[in-house]
């Protein structure tokens, strides 16, 4: 079964970028535009990896992560955090909440793929 990735970012540009990035791989990508929506999608889709933005309106990444960790069915879901703020304080907050890894925006595409590939298998789709 293909791994399922949930991308949660208020920026449509970033969601489209992630869709483009993972398109060559045999995986399913589902999306949400904020933490609140992300929790609902995670509950329904049971993703194998969540790529979560730190700074979002409605519900930010940190609040969503705390709620995710309180949910018995979702607390083990690996999270790769995206953050624009590379300050040590922000990174320490992210680390405390037990994310699997983080990537500072803007990121090299290969860096994000490498980090995601350590969490879920990323296998190139067979040519049609």
């Amino acid at each position: 079964m293909m791994p399922k990735i949930l991308s949660i970012d208020d920026s449509r540009t970033i969601r489209l970028l992630l869709a483009r990035l993972f398109r060559p791989f045999a995986c399913e990508l589902v999306e949400a535009a904020n933490g609140e929506e992300g929790l609902a999608v995670a509950e329904r889709e049971k993703p194998d990896l969540i790529i979560l933005d730190y700074n979002m309106p409605v519900m930010d990444g940190i609040t969503m992560l705390r709620k995710l960790r309180e949910d018995a069915g979702l607390k083990g879901t690996p999270v790769l955090m995206l953050t624009a703020d590379s300050g040590l304080q922000s990174l320490a907050t992210v680390a405390r909440l037990g994310v699997r890894d983080y990537v500072i925006k803007p990121f090299q595409e290969q860096e994000l793929l490498a980090k995601a590939g350590r969490i879920i298998p990323l296998i190139l789709r067979a040519e049609p």
């Binding site: 449509r12 540009t13 700074n55 624009a84 703020d85 300050g87 040590l88």
Partner: protein
């Protein structure tokens, strides 16, 4: 620019943030403009200005980033792979401009934190204009830098107030 030596060098922070973000984002090379008065073809055209609020105990302010629309169109194509009408949609251009400014503001905030002025990023807002420069609010400390990417002049302005100790 700083008014006291203990304050962060806002201009240097702007320069570093700009180069780090756009250097990572694309293979395009960033260069400082050869002359401050020299106009590029794109700068008289439509501009998109994104502003990101910064709030902290010792400092509050706004990061403004001004992009020519043509640059944003190019960035949308580069980032999303969308071309044609889909890539030219106003909403997507404004989203991309807001996200790019958010990345720049993130680097600014990280440097300010290193300098002893930690602050959090707010939600970006975006406006369009035709060649209007970023206004400097009265009484603010500010730093500014311009970079040229393949003929597009991008401007970054950091305006802030320091808390009274």
């Amino acid at each position: 620019m700083t008014l006291a030596s203990s304050k962060p060098d806002l201009r240097r922070i702007c320069e570093n943030a700009f180069v780090e973000v756009f250097g990572t984002l694309s293979s395009l090379s960033a260069t400082a403009p050869k002359s401050a008065s020299k106009s590029s073809a794109s700068e008289t055209l439509d501009q998109i200005t994104s502003s990101v609020p910064l709030t902290g105990q010792r400092l509050s302010g706004v990061v403004y980033v001004q992009f020519p629309q043509a640059f944003v169109t190019q960035a949308v194509r580069l980032l999303t792979g969308l071309d044609g009408e889909a890539g030219n949609a106003n909403a997507l251009q404004e989203d991309a401009a807001g996200e790019l400014a958010n990345m720049v503001a993130g680097r600014v905030a990280a440097q300010l934190a290193t300098d002893g002025y930690p602050c959090k990023l707010g939600t970006p807002s975006v406006s369009r204009s035709r060649g209007s420069p970023i206004e400097i609010q009265p009484g603010v400390h500010h730093g500014r830098t311009d970079l040229i990417f393949e003929g597009h002049r991008l401007s970054l302005e950091l305006q802030c107030h320091y808390a009274v100790p």
